[in-house]
């Protein structure tokens, strides 16, 4: 793989800048809330600016190449190095993580969940940002693993401290489940390391040499990675931590979790598991595809059974990530492109849905669908934004969600050579059925929450201060997401042209 080393400071700055913010924040007294918010806002804003600069400097004509590559010795004993870079697959995710964090900070200026303590809250958020960005730029497996794990702790505390009533249970479940996956993933990484001659943890090196490992060994190593990433995605049947984590997490946590954290898993498949172990990938792909379509249908059924709006959105993630995994499991560049697009689109759309759910909860103090109703009447803007996001989420063409879903279905018609065509065509039809169910649960949600008259218990509150429509913090935080959903829906090539060359490279073992 080609390596471009210009501007090699950019990624490190972009990744670790939030830590500088955390360091500054340590010296700010806890009571200076305004100052703390300012530091958080400036730090995340500056990080985003660095991200924007990275976009500007990125050579889009050469999106298949690793760019801004930096290498430094780190832990020579185990031959792991500080080796970073981005290509067309990681760049959009890297940038998205910065955008989401910045928007979440804006939203939090006005919405610190109880029990308060903005200092700790924002610090964790910034640490989280470093972990997420780092995962997407790491080109060394140990470095990747470290960042992957760094993400866990802040999220654990975010759920455990600022979460809902069952936050203890949810945060522990989230933590231990992911840990369990990570452990097996690490085993797989080490096995890969040893089997390629214990020379390097660098991903490009492993991609080059991984294919020479005997097939049956590859299959075992892949199994470890599969568990690690599948838990994170999450794929059926490893998804049960997700609804609990989402339901209990504060809005900010849910948004980051949905928008970025879940992508760490799918990104792992595209970046590491499949390119390094192509023979195993071919063997595993049908099973991944099967679990993906089970997830699509199962997630949708889970949604239909929910009484809680936030839990419903959480289950919809299981279904949507099923489409992403279906695209990946075809092992075609078409499907993988769709998957990467699906990751971004899901990040924007589901992030948006969680924002709306958070704002509904803040006003009504409940997310029980039965008790809600007439949102459009009491808060028309919030209601329409919910409608818009639901439409985007169900894959309406012209909005971003469609380009993750439809090409994934399309790709399943014609999977990579060596995969059973009939099986995948069955997957295609099941996935198409999933789009119908998606329409069902999202519109049903919208109908129950937004249409009709407000329920008696909330009917009289129209002039309550609490019962305001979308405020300026909310609209500032949401507008970029809403715009991006439309723009990417109309001009999908903005993303495809960056992702495609990199995907071609990652899948070169499968003949494109």
């Amino acid at each position: 793989m080609e390596m471009l080393r210009d501007d090699n400071w950019l990624l490190s700055v972009g990744t670790f800048l939030p830590m500088l913010g955390v360091a500054v924040m340590l010296f700010v007294p806890k009571v200076e809330e305004r100052l703390i918010k300012a530091v958080a806002l400036i730090t995340s804003g500056a990080t985003l600016a660095v991200g924007g600069f990275t976009l500007m400097r990125f050579d889009f004509g050469n999106a298949g190449a690793m760019q801004f590559v930096a290498e430094a010795t780190w832990i020579p004993v185990i031959k792991s190095s500080y080796f970073i870079g981005v290509d067309g697959i990681s760049l959009p995710l890297y940038f998205l993580s910065m955008v989401i964090t910045f928007l979440v900070v804006i939203y939090s200026l006005d919405h610190i969940p109880s029990p308060g303590n903005p200092k700790a809250f924002f610090s964790l958020m910034l640490v989280l940002q470093t972990g997420m960005a780092g995962t997407f730029i790491a080109q060394d497996l140990i470095l990747f693993f470290v960042f992957f794990e760094v993400v866990l702790l802040p999220m654990y505390f975010m759920i455990g401290v600022w979460g809902g009533e069952q936050r203890q249970y949810a945060s522990l479940k989230f933590f231990l489940y992911t840990m369990f996956g990570s452990a097996l993933m690490l085993v797989a990484f080490l096995a890969l390391f040893f089997k390629t001659g214990a020379e390097s943890f660098a991903i490009p090196f492993l991609v080059e040499n991984g294919a020479s490992i005997a097939k049956n060994v590859q299959i075992w190593i892949f199994a470890g990675m599969f568990i690690g990433f599948a838990v994170k995605v999450p794929m059926f049947p490893f998804h049960t931590w997700l609804p609990d984590a989402h339901t209990q997490a504060p809005t900010q946590g849910s948004v980051i979790l949905a928008a970025i954290l879940l992508k760490l898993g799918t990104y792992g498949f595209v970046r590491i598991a499949i390119p390094t172990l192509p023979d195993a990938a071919i063997e595993w792909a049908p099973y991944i595809g099967a679990l993906a379509v089970i997830g699509i249908i199962y997630g949708a059924l889970g949604c239909l059974a929910q009484q809680d709006m936030k839990r419903l959105i959480a289950f919809s993630s299981v279904a949507h990530m099923g489409f992403v995994m279906l695209g990946i499991s075809t092992l075609t560049s078409f499907g993988t492109n769709a998957a990467v697009f699906g990751m971004i689109a899901h990040g924007l759309i589901t992030g948006m849905l969680f924002f709306v759910a958070g704002s509904v909860k803040e006003r009504y103090h409940t997310l029980e669908i039965q008790r809600l109703g007439g949102l459009l009447k009491q808060m028309p803007r919030l209601g329409w934004i919910l409608g818009f996001s639901s439409m985007a989420s169900l894959g309406l063409p012209g909005l971003a969600g469609f380009w993750g879903e439809f090409p994934a279905i399309l790709a399943a018609y014609n999977p990579a050579e060596g995969l059973n065509v009939t099986v995948y065509r069955v997957f295609m039809v099941i996935a198409a059925l999933g789009t119908v169910l998606a329409a069902a649960y999202l519109l049903w949600l919208f109908q129950r929450v937004a249409f009709g008259e407000p329920k008696p218990e909330f009917a009289g509150h129209d002039h309550d201060d609490h019962f305001h429509d979308v405020n300026k913090y909310e609209i500032t935080a949401w507008a970029p997401l809403l715009i991006a959903i439309v723009v990417l829906g109309l001009v999908p090539n903005l993303l495809f042209k960056v992702v495609d060359p990199a995907v071609q490279g990652a899948l070169s073992a499968f003949g494109g």
Binding site: Y298, G302, P397, G398, I409, L410, T435, A450, V503
Partner: protein
């Protein structure tokens, strides 16, 4: 017909600005939509002016395109294939696939463009008065304008992706407009039902497009230089003899399912009558003359695919014909038991869409397209007429039995236009429906499908009968309920029964007046539409000979074998007709050289004897129904009134119809209930109890194992046996403890060590 003499030089085809820039036609209302959303509320007419202006602009462009298309056809030699005006731009590329977006304008496209833009304009004008003072007036115009943009985009689409885009935008707008008065549960349920039913069909669209793409892409790229999403590429591929018959059959079935959903064909027709919960202009535009014909349009657009896939013109008929024929009859039968005037029209629409499908299935492509054209005018007129009645005469009620009757005296314009359109719908000479519907029936018979022709005639009889009943109930007899000025009490009692939701749009300015004629913004569109309902049939008046068959000349693609010419710029003629063929092999055999874009179809020769037979059937329907209506509703004939409750057979039939063949019960009570209820609950139970149960079991076991280890091994065995190494023991305990307590800070070292051990074992085992 497709004879081109060897000596004849093929003419270069003319084009023009309108044809080259037809892509602007959907863009204009799309921009209009955005403007209404952002600025509508601040404008003097609350955004409706933007809607109307953008539709007028689209109409102007459509008319210009139609004019230039006619010139283009005129510039071609006889039998020369008139290629569509195609312009494409790159949209996105992935994995070597280059997807373009663009326009493809041909006779079919311009016909529908003109119809859609025209009806949209009239409906928008009508809505200015009809929805005056509505609480979501601006929203209404925004959604109406976006709808038109979606339909127009679908019509000009060069590729299937843009087609899907337009198709789904219509679905979305339909949802927004049916649920326009979403405060009432019935309306929002109807909106959900419509979107969801159509979406179920859309599954077929996604699957069908996927199949076609992969099946045709290689061929189209090689032979035409376009991708397998391109509509004209797919058409040529379908007729090339290349496709595997199973693949193309699968694709056809999948796409046809989408058409069934969208066009309200049996068995997915149940959403359409419920969709009448929307404001009447919506019913008129979306659910009669434009959106619901999208399914028919899909079949007409990709006709070569269906032609080959379903073996159209083959013996014995095919799926399209069967579905079309069933739909004609079952929907017409349902129209008899409706009390709501809009539901009569809704079932009538379903039934007429069945005719279009029947025609397409039987190889009567042009008559079917012609019927889309004429049906749009008279059905829009009928719906707007129903709206006019509820607006000005029946106090927002649509109940013919309770609130209408005798209205011809009060509403002369509405009455006249209604009667003209009814006669057109029934197919009475010389109204427009006669020319199109009779053509369909005639051609179905001519192509050898006698049984289907008989069903078509039965349908014509039923149509005449139910429309006569509706006309009688509305305009004749004595005035009842609101029409007689008793709206106060009726109004209240209506609320409960009326399951389409009360057409109550928040303005009660007319309280206290009796029935009267509506204002000019309502009557002028009615009159324009009535004139067209009367005259539009003459565009293809087969009875008067070849020179009257204009539409056939302009719209039907000529089935010539086309040789490909590569060396020319974009938008230029890349295709020329093969010379010297005496009858086109397109559709029947594989052309040896060149490609076909349309199958060769036959046209029935018009015979007055056949036409008179069908006219006689129509008049019999009208007469019989009139006599029955008089006896039932005015004279209250004791033998007839209540017959359904006395006679068992009739009663069973009535209940079957009143319950809509129990299809709604099947869908809503059985399928939807079970998926939304027990099935999803079972899945969730599995989630909470099995998957999480395993997890909790594992964690309980781990906890008890570790605490047992701690108590028995760590504390007892180790502690007691090896007193000296107490410090080391504590270290070991410290390793176990964090696992059980969930303390997380020390997990890293533990994890890393454990993983290394396992990895080493794995490596050793495998070497």
């Amino acid at each position: 017909m497709s004879v081109v003499a060897a000596s004849e030089v093929l003419n270069p085809l003319s084009s023009g600005w309108f044809l080259e820039n037809s892509w602007l036609i959907p863009i204009i209302p799309a921009v209009g939509f955005a403007l209404i959303i952002f600025f509508g509320k601040r404008l003097p007419m609350k955004g409706s002016e933007i809607g109307v202006i953008s539709m007028v602009a689209s109409l102007g462009m459509s008319a210009g395109s139609a004019y230039q298309w006619i010139q283009r056809v005129g510039s071609a030699a006889e039998g020369q294939f008139v290629e569509p005006v195609i312009r494409t731009w790159n949209w996105w590329q992935i994995g070597g696939v280059n997807l373009t977006i663009g326009q493809s304008i041909d006779g079919l496209a311009v016909t529908i463009l003109v119809v859609v833009a025209f009806i949209s304009t009239l409906v928008q004008l009508y809505s200015i008065e009809y929805l005056h003072g509505d609480r979501r007036y601006t929203h209404f115009f925004a959604a109406l304008t976006l709808f038109s943009a979606g339909m127009l985009a679908m019509v000009i689409a060069e590729d299937m992706i843009l087609f899907i885009l337009g198709w789904e935008i219509m679905g979305l707008c339909s949802f927004m407009l049916i649920g326009h008065w979403w405060e009432e549960g019935a309306n929002s349920r109807a909106a959900l039902k419509a979107f969801f039913t159509v979406r179920t069909g859309d599954m077929g669209l996604l699957v069908g497009v996927a199949i076609l793409y992969f099946a045709s892409n290689e061929w189209t790229t090689e032979n035409l230089g376009v991708s397998g999403f391109s509509i004209h590429g797919i058409s040529a591929w379908a007729l090339s003899g290349e496709p595997n018959s199973t693949v193309i059959l699968m694709a056809s079935i999948a796409l046809f399912i989408a058409a069934i959903g969208k066009s309200g064909q049996f068995p997915l027709h149940t959403w359409l009558p419920d969709a009448m919960a929307g404001p009447t202009p919506v019913s008129s535009l979306l659910h009669s003359s434009t959106m619901v014909v999208a399914g028919v349009f899909l079949v007409a657009r990709l006709y070569p695919v269906f032609f080959e896939g379903f073996d159209i013109l083959g013996a014995g008929g095919n799926l399209i014909m069967v579905i079309g024929a069933i739909t004609i009859v079952i929907a017409a039968a349902l129209a008899f038991v409706q009390a709501d005037i809009k539901k009569v029209l809704a079932y009538s629409t379903v039934s007429q869409l069945g005719y279009m499908m029947l025609g397409l299935g039987a190889g009567a492509w042009l008559p079917a397209v012609f019927h889309i054209f004429t049906h749009a005018f008279f059905k829009a007129c009928l719906f707007l007429g129903a709206g006019s009645i509820s607006h000005s005469a029946s106090h927002h009620s649509f109940d013919m039995r309770k609130d209408m009757g005798g209205l011809r005296k009060y509403m002369p314009i509405t009455f006249t236009t209604w009667v003209i359109s009814t006669l057109a719908l029934c197919g009475v000479f010389p109204f427009s429906g006669f020319f199109s519907k009779d053509e369909i029936i005639d051609n179905v018979g001519n192509n050898g499908y006698t049984m289907f022709m008989v069903i078509g005639l039965v349908g014509a009889f039923l149509t005449a009968a139910y429309m006569t009943r509706a006309t009688y109930l509305t305009f004749f007899g004595e005035a009842r309920g609101a029409a007689a000025g008793q709206h106060e009490t009726e109004h209240a009692s209506d609320h409960g029964h009326d399951d389409h939701g009360h057409d109550d749009h928040g303005h009660d300015a007319h309280d206290g007046h009796g029935p009267r004629e509506s204002g000019p913004l309502i009557t002028i569109p009615l009159m324009i539409l009535a004139v067209l309902a009367l005259s539009s049939g003459f565009l293809n008046a087969t009875p008067f000979g070849k020179s009257w068959e204009k539409l056939k000349d302009w719209v039907e693609p000529r089935a010539a074998v086309v040789m490909e010419v590569h060396a020319s710029g974009p938008g230029e003629s890349r295709i020329r007709a093969e010379e010297g063929h005496h009858s086109s092999p397109c559709g029947s055999e594989t052309p040896k050289e060149g490609v076909c874009f349309a199958p060769q179809l036959e046209h029935a020769k018009f015979k007055w004897s056949k036409a008179l037979l069908s006219l006689a059937i129509v008049f019999a329907g009208i007469a019989l129904s009139w006599l029955l209506s008089v006896a039932l509703y005015t004279k209250k004939n004791a033998k007839l009134v209540g017959l359904t409750s006395r006679n068992k057979v009739l009663g069973a039939g009535y209940r079957l119809l009143a319950n809509k063949y129990y299809l709604d019960a099947l869908y809503e009570q059985v399928i939807v209930r079970s998926v939304a209820g027990p099935i999803s609950r079972a899945a969730y139970w599995f989630n909470q109890n099995i998957l999480d149960g395993v997890l909790h079991g594992v964690s309980r076991t781990t906890r008890s194992v570790s605490s047992w280890t701690y108590r028995n091994i760590d504390q007892r065995v180790v502690d007691e046996a090896v007193n000296a190494s107490g410090r080391a023991t504590k270290g070991a305990g410290g390793v176990v403890q964090p696992v059980q307590s969930g303390k997380v800070s020390q997990y890293g070292a533990l994890l890393f060590a454990a993983a290394s051990v396992v990895a080493l074992v794995l490596v050793i085992v495998n070497t």
